[in-house]
Symmetry: D2
Subunit: 364 residues, 4 copies
Amino acid sequence: MSGNTLGKLFTVTTFGESHGLALGCIVDGCPPGLVISEEDIQSELDRRKPGTSRYTTQRREADQVKILSGVFEGKTTGTPIGMVIENTDQRSKDYGNIKDQFRPAHADYTYMHKYGTRDYRGGGRSSARETAMRVAAGAIAKKYLREQWGIVVRGFLSQLGPIKAEAFDWAQVAENPFFCPDAVKVPEMEAYMQALNKEGNSIGARINVVAEGVPPGLGEPVFDRLDADLAHALMSINAVKGVEIGAGFESVIQKGTEHRDELTPDGFLSNNAGGILGGISSGQPITASIALKPTSSLHLPGRSIDVHGNEVEVVTKGRHDPCVGIRATPIAEAMMAIVLMDHLLRHRGQNGGVQHSIPDITRR
Amino acid sequence: MSGNTLGKLFTVTTFGESHGLALGCIVDGCPPGLVISEEDIQSELDRRKPGTSRYTTQRREADQVKILSGVFEGKTTGTPIGMVIENTDQRSKDYGNIKDQFRPAHADYTYMHKYGTRDYRGGGRSSARETAMRVAAGAIAKKYLREQWGIVVRGFLSQLGPIKAEAFDWAQVAENPFFCPDAVKVPEMEAYMQALNKEGNSIGARINVVAEGVPPGLGEPVFDRLDADLAHALMSINAVKGVEIGAGFESVIQKGTEHRDELTPDGFLSNNAGGILGGISSGQPITASIALKPTSSLHLPGRSIDVHGNEVEVVTKGRHDPCVGIRATPIAEAMMAIVLMDHLLRHRGQNGGVQHSIPDITRR
Amino acid sequence: MSGNTLGKLFTVTTFGESHGLALGCIVDGCPPGLVISEEDIQSELDRRKPGTSRYTTQRREADQVKILSGVFEGKTTGTPIGMVIENTDQRSKDYGNIKDQFRPAHADYTYMHKYGTRDYRGGGRSSARETAMRVAAGAIAKKYLREQWGIVVRGFLSQLGPIKAEAFDWAQVAENPFFCPDAVKVPEMEAYMQALNKEGNSIGARINVVAEGVPPGLGEPVFDRLDADLAHALMSINAVKGVEIGAGFESVIQKGTEHRDELTPDGFLSNNAGGILGGISSGQPITASIALKPTSSLHLPGRSIDVHGNEVEVVTKGRHDPCVGIRATPIAEAMMAIVLMDHLLRHRGQNGGVQHSIPDITRR
Amino acid sequence: MSGNTLGKLFTVTTFGESHGLALGCIVDGCPPGLVISEEDIQSELDRRKPGTSRYTTQRREADQVKILSGVFEGKTTGTPIGMVIENTDQRSKDYGNIKDQFRPAHADYTYMHKYGTRDYRGGGRSSARETAMRVAAGAIAKKYLREQWGIVVRGFLSQLGPIKAEAFDWAQVAENPFFCPDAVKVPEMEAYMQALNKEGNSIGARINVVAEGVPPGLGEPVFDRLDADLAHALMSINAVKGVEIGAGFESVIQKGTEHRDELTPDGFLSNNAGGILGGISSGQPITASIALKPTSSLHLPGRSIDVHGNEVEVVTKGRHDPCVGIRATPIAEAMMAIVLMDHLLRHRGQNGGVQHSIPDITRR
């Protein structure tokens, strides 16, 4: 619980720095009997992998995952699953010049204040490279949710800087490097990114995640609400600055009659709640949206100070995503899957898997 | 950890239903030696208390807190602080008619699916009345933060439905029933609320919270980031649908050069980060903003079903806030204070209170 | 988690000092639907209550428990159960003289080093009076275990100082003030205690606890083993200095062929394991034994120092049990019940209540 | 928290099966700045390593540890330390015959009931091989305690079956394969073990652990007492059936005047408390003793059943320690060090490292 563990019954603990020997994690609490292979996990990792398009960092990492424990004869045993990914394409010398500088909008300054030291190579522990292990852990959760419960967790990029997806088609999401559900906007996004790269600048993005098939009843009032735990998990992703559930900030200007999702025997009439009422899932799709800030590593010089307090001009070399949001979709899906998995187990613990004889208007 | 506990080293566990005998909480982990009295806590509770203006529920609760343990000769001893507030003005009969109905946008439907039963009187455990104990616990955290660390946590209402505060003056916040920092907008808000009451409707709101004086170094990467824990705590407040840190969703359209807060020996040049970088406090003010949905209890009829699955028309009697956001400012402050308190203790545990010799550009 | 909470899914958090206004606790995670009343809890509290025989402290506490939340129309709702017991018979003036002294074998010296202060009245938080709330919480766990799972948790005093129970009859346990299962030894114990009282001295004791009907499969390797969690819970009882599971220290001199509990289709042939193998319940009775040190509060003077470091002679006035072990049986039962309850819920969370088709040789 | 994590602020999470690819762990919460190398950890691992004498298993594992993260330029950074040990000398075919059998006194039967499956090779997760990672994690804790706080944690074997160490000399402990402090008894133990090996049997043992230099004030009443957490950690070691603190079970027959450790300005006059009063360290040496059952893997046939419920005769092949207690000393030391480390950080978190001006009679 010292900060690098997420969850109560289904827990994920990660380790690893951007330019260290390896990244790794321990997934504890996965029920026995789930058929899982390195390929299952790899396919999720490949969606997040750097270097897959010209719009992401050119660092070439195979991100090859190895399962070290917890799986026997192709199935989980119920014991902890250890996984590692070796780092192979570090170019740590790119970072020598920022060793004593604090890059603006990076964690350099705060890590130094916290620890008095830092592994400055590629951002060390604060690098988004750490999220590879979240995706690996999330792959296990996603598979379990899908196979055992029929729950599907999917995400997409809804906005890239000023460009919003307007049309929506799940089928499109896998067809472009942005995870954009609106095919029409893809060329626009491509052009935008090219201009941005030329400029040496970066941009923010908005990602949406949806879980369908979640049974009603998940979430523990009052602090471990499902929405609160989702907010925690999503906000813990590097660069995230905002989290919305359902109508989110739109709720501020909604009237009660507008916001309330009326119930009928055939289902809810709307989903402003984002599938969560009183911190507990309602059976409707769970919808969340997150804001990602623009990448902080820029080739454009910025003002800063060094460790001695002197003014310096910082230029970040190294290879970076011009928009961290682009690769964030699989990460957000992973986080949502991990939280749901944990709450499924917690709920099952408390109520023993009993289905109460309450009409379920979402299962018609 | 079964859902009603918040924090790791400074923990708050609450109990109590809207119309039960009493609300209560245990604050565990408060360091010894803090001078604290029931009056200190009462003054915070009075800020949240129902019935203080015509814009809040007319339920009349004294909300008189009693400290049962953990304080000896006026000071905390380091042992758990037990507190209770007796409920006195329940009018449970108002709720007889909704016993078998699911009020839209309420937790009725989800509690029934989770537990197979619920204390329907006034929303039972899902009522915002539970937040009284958060304010009581937060009062202890706020006092400790202020007296021992010079940290001040304050909040305000930045938007009431369509009306945004534009001018900003901390001094105004305590001068009106809305916690609005813009005196000019207060009459507008009053008129808006009167029209709303007449209509029988409700409205959403936005609340901002700020912590000043927070030292750099608080927050535990990678999951227990300070921003992630704040998001968790703030999203756990009833009716909250969105949380932003710093620039929040504005980050989506910001370029890197715009978002990054440059550093100079005399301080940061902006605060888009909201005082948190890499999950760790930077020494700048920590800023968060939350969206609160409109109150779900409405006198205007809504469509729903009953526990047997039949269509019903629901009208919520009882006494309710037409805008839950109005009384949410002290609650949001309490949540931020509790999270900061916990992270202060956690950080001190890990680094032993050492101040590293890193230039602190926020303490000039 | 700051020290006063036990459990993961079924949690108990207590507060209260010996001579404060009240003791209290929050039981979180109790499944809904359990029929429970104050009487159910009271009957367990009465077994531990002071002043019931001449062999326990003469402090007269009604120990009247009040349920403040979590129970609606006679049944648990799944929300946290708040309980309090008011203190009524404090005689704090008895303690004025030890305010600045450290009583040998008491927590006075260590509390002062930890906190720099202490509520010296009756031992404050370190008093065994705190265990009343454990018994109250345990009463809920015991009832749930018995009614929902057929698990019975019972204890007895197996040794009072030099006097060992030799015969064994559960029916005798409730028939004497010592919880002794051997009727023949009761007069001997009475005589021993009378001599001890005259002498002004105190004595240790050994208590055994047994849980019957526990299904196989409870316990989480490798750290949260069922035996490890039992050891934690039992050792957390005031005055306990040793914990054994099954054969305990006898195992040291056993050979493998002697210790191993062989299996047959009709059951195990012995129970040296105490019902736990590899940290997981086997279906056999779970057996534990604890050592309680003699009461530290003595009328016989002892050497010590005061807060200034001066030598003093300490005589403890106040009313005390000459053998804390005598009232410890219900407390040990409560701790075992709480641990089992927690592990039942945890196990059910992980495996969903599935019964694997493995022969269960303990259920014939 | 799903069972494979120990600690709150200094946490250790392990993974790995006896015959899997690798064992590993994550140590989270180690403060930055500790000089640590693989050699430091290896030297502890070598003390536990199999195959070092004829009295331990003949499995030949190099137990070569690799640090994958959290250490930069030779020092800890404050981020999680990932470590792995590859398994190299598995002989899994030895276990084919017990695939469908439940070995008596093993976790086979209970794992099958819990999980419905198990990695039967060498005991899988229930193998004591898992403790290698505890020793690795403990090596970090031990080094920190020693270097930063002057705390020394050491253990020894006090009894091997019927043979008790009588003389005591720390210097002898490292001089014989039994960790026995009494040189005179070593030949006797050797003879005993040779006879035992010939017989094909196994034997129990008792191990003592001592921490010297622990400051007063560590431990969190009432559940997270230092002794309760030690009992938890020590009982979680494979084969442990009993835990004593200080006088332990001897307390049962002690009178109050005998047990109480009187205080003088020059120190305590005895240490029946084992350095812990009211769950908090007193500054005296912390002493604990544990009972280890005889190894369950025997070449002598035993009665059991198979997964279908049929009677079988079990003979365990494979290579095993005839006395698991012999290699348990470094493991017990590791567990005590981890618990102390965690409590040091927790205490420092709560009291900020303040030394209260209370006379410390143990530091003269």
